[in-house]
Amino acid sequence: MSYLTLLIILFGLIVAGYQIGQRRAKAVKPKLNSKLPEHKLHSLPGFHGAYVALWCGIPSFILMFVWLFLEPNILSLLLEKQLGEQISGMADGKVELLKSSIRRAAENSQFPVDTALLAVVESYKNIQNQANIAGMVLIVSAAIIGLLISQRNIAQRFMARHKVEYIFAVIMLLSSLVAVLTTFGVVVSLVFETIRFFDHVSVSEFLFGLHWSPQIALRADQVASSGSFGAVPIFAGTLLITFIAMLIAVPIGLFSAIYMSEYASPKFRNIAKPLLEILAGIPTVVYGFFAALSVAPLMRGWGFELGLEISSESALAAGLVMGVMIIPFVSSLSDDVINAVPQTMRDGSYALGATRGETIKLVLLPAALPGIVSSVLLATSRAIGETMIVVMAAGLAANLTANPFQAVTTVTVQILTLLVGDQEFDSPKTLAAFALGFVLFIITLGLNILALKVVNKYREKYD
């Protein structure tokens, strides 16, 4: 019996539970002609059905997940017991290897295994079968018990309507917990790896060091055997590129948002807005080669004519293209918040003899400021986290420079290069990626908190 059959059985039970609940509720005959609420069926039969179905399905599904986690552990414990003295004194890794080959042999009789172990394999198969059946029986009986107990509750005044709603509220709560717990898990894993990194490299060297070259020697006598992990150049590079991108995206995005919401005819708006939002849907890789193959050479050509030295991989090219990429983040959100300012505000301003421009500058933008700020900060986090464009257009050289015509590199690009290829997972080089990720996380978190603060402080209530 496989899990597929189990699922089919459970599904059948749930449907049956729904039917039984509904039937039982319908069988409760309200007293004839009575208008008193206590003589009527409290909830519609469908709610009674859903109530029984939920009690049939949820506990058994929970049990199934628990079993899925527990079964391998229990089996492995049983296997160890069986191997007994054979494994006493063996290294942990060896034991794991042995166990896994027994497991493989149990699954597939072709798998070559020591003849001495054949008996163990056979009995393991047995145990596995028994455990499997036990699990199935347990789960199915949980479903049946849930069904039987819950359907007994059905009565005229039983408030299935509220119970079902309550169960759904709990399900929704659990769903939202998934997101929260995931974030928490990511942060915890980042923190632990970062701490391990700081065992190898001091915090001050990482945060204030001016030289980044994360090469770790494979042999002790190798040239350049000690890597250096000063993260200042790559954070500076990130800042530089982000700054250039925001220089492009904020004015263009804001102006287009204002035009869309205040000046454009509905017809133009209906066509232009989706088109602008398509910009956000272009894969960043496409932007990347656009930046590397079109924009960067163009920049270099212009620079040459103007007598400027622009390298073919430059912060400028990457920043420009990234700026274009995040225009829709600024414009779309800002457009929405400007639109959300009530029409009565515009009327009030026009009625005082203000022009459109004055109304926008003095009433609409201040009222929409919180939304605009958060859209800009959202775009900033997006720019900071962007990787592909930078890899392709700005290069990998960790130069500490404020000159946008030179190649720079960013945090995300370095994380990428640190983890690409075969890596040991305990070398400082690999762990450095986690430290960078952690600092990046702190920065974006800080930006988000700042955005919230700004929004709360300058929120202008208009009703």
């Binding site: 009327d347 009030g348 005082l352 004055e358 009433v363 202008e460």
Partner: protein, 257 residues
């Protein structure tokens, strides 16, 4: 007749208004006299607010709105090409149904109009305008200690008086009021009505109202609209005591509408 002594502020001549294909007003002829309160009454959808919004060209904002006929302010057609709508609205202030102070301080709400019209050269000019406007709107005593607090934090009636102060700060000649009390309680309403009575000394007022008692209390002239047509227009006393038209009589006696 008194009309000979008092000048015509507005002359509305044969005005038709269309929203797309739908005609909202039919051949309207109304005269608004200077320093009087003219009330526009009638059931919902009768076009009284539409007419009011034509008087300061607020309907310009609506793309599908088309108007024919003449509206003369001091003898000059306000829909002529020579008129700058921004200047027109500085001469004709408006107060809306729902109080709509800007999300700014009380002070900034009042100086908003004067600032954009270049009426403030020194800060003291602004202070003076704020004080006189708020005094004239009967709000000064209540807010003089908290001019920096947001205008949106005031009560509904105070907000509406702030909007009136904001409108008179620009020194308009006419104030249009679109059901200014419909969102207010009876006490705040009484305050505003008193205020309207005082304001007519300096300004010409056109008020749209749902309340017939209010029209009777505050206005000197009343125009009754029904289904986009002007049914009757005359002295308020005459309209309410001795209407010539049966429809008007039915409406003001509450049998209808």
């Amino acid at each position: 007749m008194s009309e000979n002594k008092i000048a015509n502020k507005y002359q509305v001549r044969d005005v038709n208004v269309f929203y797309g294909d739908k005609q909202a007003l039919f051949n309207i002829e109304v005269d608004v006299l200077e320093n009087q309160v003219t009330a526009l009454i009638g059931p919902s959808g009768c076009g009284k607010s539409t007419l009011l919004r034509c008087l300061n060209r607020m309907n310009d904002v609506i793309d599908v709105c088309k108007i024919s006929g003449d509206i003369l302010l001091d003898g000059q057609d306000i829909y002529s090409k020579k008129i700058d709508v921004v200047e027109l609205r500085a001469r004709v202030g408006m107060v809306f149904q729902k109080p709509n102070p800007f999300p700014k301080s009380i002070y900034d709400n009042v100086v908003y109009g004067p600032k954009i019209h270049g009426m403030i050269e020194h800060k003291s000019d602004g202070d003076e305008i704020v004080e006189t406007s708020l005094k004239r709107a009967g709000l000064w005593e209540e807010v003089k200690d908290r001019l920096d607090s947001p205008g949106t934090g005031l009560s509904g009636g105070q907000q509406q008086r702030l909007c009136i102060a904001r409108a008179i700060a620009v020194s308009p000649e006419v104030i249009l009021m679109d059901e200014p009390c419909s969102a207010l309680d009876p006490i705040a309403t009484a305050r505003i009505e008193e205020l309207i009575d005082e304001l007519k000394e300096k300004f010409t007022i056109v008020i749209v109202t749902h309340s017939m008692q209010q029209a009777a209390r505050v206005s000197q002239k009343t125009a009754f609209f029904h289904l986009g047509k002007l049914v009757e227009f005359g002295d308020t006393d005459q309209i309410f005591t001795n209407p010539h038209n049966q429809q008007t009589q039915d409406y003001i006696t509450g049998r209808y509408g």
